[in-house]
């Protein structure tokens, strides 16, 4: 009985867990749904893109962002669970940063939302540490051999976000136009920002 119940459909197991907690007054379904809706709809990489665009256009903000990521990101109103201890890594022509969580799935929710499947996948988590250049190539990012790749392991103590390089030819773009160019993948470090 015990082992059979371990292998039940996960949908049923979640239902059992949630219904028991709700019956005992430890939880309510409305709160559960509020969290789900928030992360499905309101929190996502568009937040991080605004941070990046502001850093590209406002040198003082950029300096604050690199000095204290959590505070500078908080200035734009992005805070909350998994948004503490933010460190922003600036890509340069010589150094490219890429972020992973080797143990689980630590990720800066307030600026990037919930991580994509590939970020949580055992293959990405182990391979990007061992062979970052090859993994980036599989993402379509072929860096010159002269570019140093630094892999950063996110944890509960430090959560990383990449500040990508601003692409050439965007000198006249507004902050909003710049933000529209910035992808989630660029802020994890598996892509660069390009002008379409």
């Amino acid at each position: 009985m015990t082992s059979a119940s371990e292998h039940l459909d996960p949908a049923l197991r979640v239902e059992a867990l949630a219904s028991l907690l709700i019956d005992r007054g430890l939880l309510d379904q409305a709160t559960i749904e509020t969290f789900v809706k928030t992360y499905e709809q309101s929190v996502g990489p568009m937040n991080g893109a605004k941070v990046v665009a502001k850093a590209w256009t406002d040198p003082e903000y950029r300096a604050r962002l690199l000095a204290d990521g959590t505070a500078a990101i908080g200035e734009l109103g992005f805070k909350g669970p998994q948004g503490e201890h933010m460190v922003v890594l600036e890509n340069t022509p010589a150094v490219h940063h890429v972020v992973v969580c080797t143990l689980c799935s630590c990720y800066p929710w307030p600026v990037l939302g919930l991580p994509p499947n590939w970020y949580k996948d055992p293959a990405y988590r182990s391979r990007v540490v061992r062979e970052p250049r090859q993994v980036l190539r599989e993402f379509g990012l072929d860096l010159d051999d002269g570019v140093e790749i630094r892999v950063h392991d996110s944890s509960s103590e430090v959560r990383y976000m990449v500040l990508p390089e601003r692409p050439a030819g965007t000198e006249h773009y507004s902050e909003a136009e710049l933000a529209a160019l910035v992808s989630r993948d660029a802020m994890v470090g598996v892509a660069n920002v390009a002008v379409p």
């Binding site: 709160t31 630590c106 994509p116 499947n117």
Partner: protein
């Protein structure tokens, strides 16, 4: 952002699951979003400590990876759910026996009851 979409993302393991657009589905199935929401709501209500949950998740993922070297059958939210079950019974919020009894009760519902098995 759409949701309740197809379940093709459920087993997107493989050596290099392709990168996707920013509009990727956050949850591949309703039970995943419910498991996510239960953990956040328990933490928000002060019932669980997030770092305890994270450590529990790290252990589940490490155990799964040790038992499945090929990576076949990977499901992040199954690890999430197991770590949540373990934490909730470990801290005494819900006794493991009560959880089993509730599962058996739900599993014994008459056929035709709509719960997906994919």
């Amino acid at each position: 952002m759409s949701h309740g979409g197809p379940s093709y993302l459920l087993d997107s393991a493989g050596p290099a699951a392709p990168p996707r657009d920013n509009g990727e589905l956050v949850f591949a199935a309703p039970w995943e979003s419910q498991a996510f929401g239960v953990a956040l709501a328990l933490h928000d209500a002060g019932r669980i400590d997030w770092e305890d949950f994270r450590q529990s998740l790290i252990r589940e993922i490490a155990d799964w990876e040790a038992a499945h070297p090929s990576g076949e059958g990977w499901s992040y939210y199954e690890c999430w759910l197991r770590s949540l079950e373990r934490l909730v019974s470990g801290t005494g919020l819900v006794a493991a026996d009560d959880l089993r009894a509730r599962r058996d009760e739900l599993a014994a519902r008459p056929a035709g009851h709509d719960h997906r098995h994919d």
